[in-house]
Every structure is written in C-alpha cells, then in structure tokens.
C-alpha cells in the first residue's frame, strides 16, 4: 500500500521547469563571483589604507633627504641663472642627479602608486558588486 503510494507520488510529481538547472548554476556562479569580489574589496581596502598611512612617513623621509642634500639650492639656479645653466646644462643636470633624493622619491611614489592602484580596483569592484546586486534584485522582483 505504502509502496504503491510512493510509486504514484513519484510518477505523478510535477516535472521541474527546464530552465531550473541553468538558473541554479548561474546563481551559484554569481554567488562565487560575489565572494571573489568581496575578497578583492577587502584586499584593496587594506592596501589603500596601508599605502595612505605609508604616504606620511614617506614624505617625512623625502623631507629629511631634501634637507640633507642641496637639491633645492641647485634647482633654484634654473630660475636665477637660466642663461648660464642652459649653457652648462650637462654639469647642471649631473649636479641635480647627484643630489636627487632617490630613496625618498621612491618611497613617496611607491606609496602613492599603490594607493591610486588600490582605489582604481576598489571602485571597479564596488561598481561590479553594485551591478551584481542590482541584477539579483531585478530578477527577484520580476520573478515575484
């Protein structure tokens, strides 16, 4: 009796819609993508904050290096003695390069570059996550 009932239930159970499998798979993919984007958002947020925090000590380092070298004094000759400097531009360029605060500049540029890169990827991911959320909400709204 019970077996017959079960058999009748299985035989007469409604067929799932054909597109159900596709819908489930696409939803799984969307959730996976969402997870990956959230992970990237965390990484880039940390990157942006860390690099922003690193900009200040990097500037301090650059300031100290500039104070230790005569880079600004040599640069000022470009404004006060342009004619002579342009005549001996090779010596002038070499004296500037000799006093260039390279490590300070590297630190500042690296920190700013990481910050700007993180911001760029962050905004892209936020836009992607917003569009994914929007898509999910729209589909949910149309299905209901």
């Amino acid at each position: 009796m019970v077996q017959q009932h079960n058999k009748n239930f299985i035989d007469n159970s409604p067929e799932p819609p054909k597109e159900l499998f596709g819908k489930i798979m696409s939803r799984i993919h969307r959730e996976q993508r969402l997870g990956r984007i959230k992970q990237r958002i965390v990484i880039f947020s940390v990157g942006a904050l860390a690099s922003l925090a690193a900009v200040f000590p990097a500037f301090q380092m650059l300031k100290t290096e500039l104070a230790a070298t005569s880079f600004f004094t040599f640069s000022s000759l470009l404004f006060s003695d342009f004619a002579v400097v342009s005549m001996y531009w090779q010596n002038f360029a070499l004296s500037l390069l000799e006093t260039l605060p390279v490590m300070g500049l590297v630190a500042v540029f690296a920190a700013v570059l990481v910050f700007l890169g993180s911001i760029r990827f962050l905004t892209k991911d936020i836009r992607d996550i917003a569009s994914l959320d929007l898509m999910t909400n729209k589909k949910y709204a149309t299905n209901n």
Binding site: A68, T69, S70, T73, F74, S76, L77, S80, D81, V84, V85, M87, Y88, N91, F92, L94, S95, L96, L97, E98, T99, L100, V102, M103, L105, V106, F109, A110, V112, L113, L116, G117, I119, R120, T123, K124, I126, R127
Partner: protein
C-alpha cells in the same frame, strides 16, 4: 559617486598610474646604477688606498679620514668659502668636506643677485653654490658661482622670533 567611479576608471587616470609607474621604474633603475657605480668606485678607492698597505706604505693609509663618508658630489657644491687664494677657492660643503674650486676668467661666471662679480669680490664665509666640471686632479673647474644671501643670524638677546603670520 558615479562621476568619481568614472574618473577612476578613465583612460586619464590609467595614464597617470602608468606614468607614475614608469617614473618609479626610472628611479629604481637610477638607484641601482648609483649602487653599482658606488660599489665599483668604493672598490677602486679601497684598492688604491690599500695598495701601499698591501705592497708598501703607512699602516693607516693616506685617505683614512674619508672612511665611512658617502661619495662626494662631483658637478656641484653648496657651501661656505673657507679660503680664497689666487684663482682658486676652498669651499666647505654640507658634508663637511673641503673642495678646491678653480676659477677661470673666461669661463666662470660669478653672480650675486643681478651683479656679476670678480674672484677678488669673493670673501671667506660667503655662502656659495657652484656648478662645475671635475678635473683629473680632484678639483672642480667652476662654471657658475652664485653667492647666496647670508642666512639670518639668531640674536640671543632678541628673544623668541615672531613669525610674520
């Protein structure tokens, strides 16, 4: 918000990032070149300094006082005149190293504000900035000498300085 997002995704912003990355790469390559050059110069310096130690000469070497100092700037000096003698001057730079500067009448321009000076106008304690060319004898042939205005002296009786803002 959309405007900001649009800017961060724009070609202009991408160009700025690429430009900065290229400049950073240039700085790193420049630093690497400096390091390699410094190592070679240091080795050559040590080799010549210790030549007499390894083969003959005083135990402490001739250039002992320069030990631990960074390499000197060869094409420019900023410092104070400590001696004027004939057509050359001795300048003490920021690194406390004395450098001998040769002044040639035809090729060296000496300036203070808008005035052009002669070597006889230079005095000890003048603060000068020099652009020049190093020669083979460890001296620098000056091309441009600009006498800088003297740094403001602190008067101990004057009390705390009031900034004009």
């Amino acid at each position: 918000m959309q405007q900001i997002t649009k800017f961060f995704q724009s070609k202009l912003f991408q160009g700025i990032i690429i430009g900065m990355a290229i400049f950073l790469a240039f700085l790193l390559i420049f630093k690497a070149g400096m390091m390699v050059g410094s190592r070679k110069a240091e080795f050559s310096g040590n080799w010549s300094e210790n030549y007499h130690l390894n083969f003959a000469g005083p135990k402490e070497g001739f250039l002992n006082e320069f030990e631990g100092k960074d390499f000197m700037e060869a094409n420019g000096v900023f410092g104070q005149i400590i001696k004027v003698e004939g057509s050359s001057i001795v300048v003490k730079g920021k690194d406390d190293v004395e450098k001998s500067i040769i002044i040639e009448d035809g090729t060296t321009t000496i300036k203070r504000l808008k005035d052009t000076l002669k070597i006889s106008d230079l005095k000890t304690n003048d603060l000068i900035v020099i652009i020049g060319e190093p020669n083979g004898t460890g001296q620098m042939q000056a091309r441009l000498i600009r006498v800088m205005p003297p740094a403001p002296q602190k008067d101990p009786k004057a009390g705390p300085r009031i900034m004009p803002y």
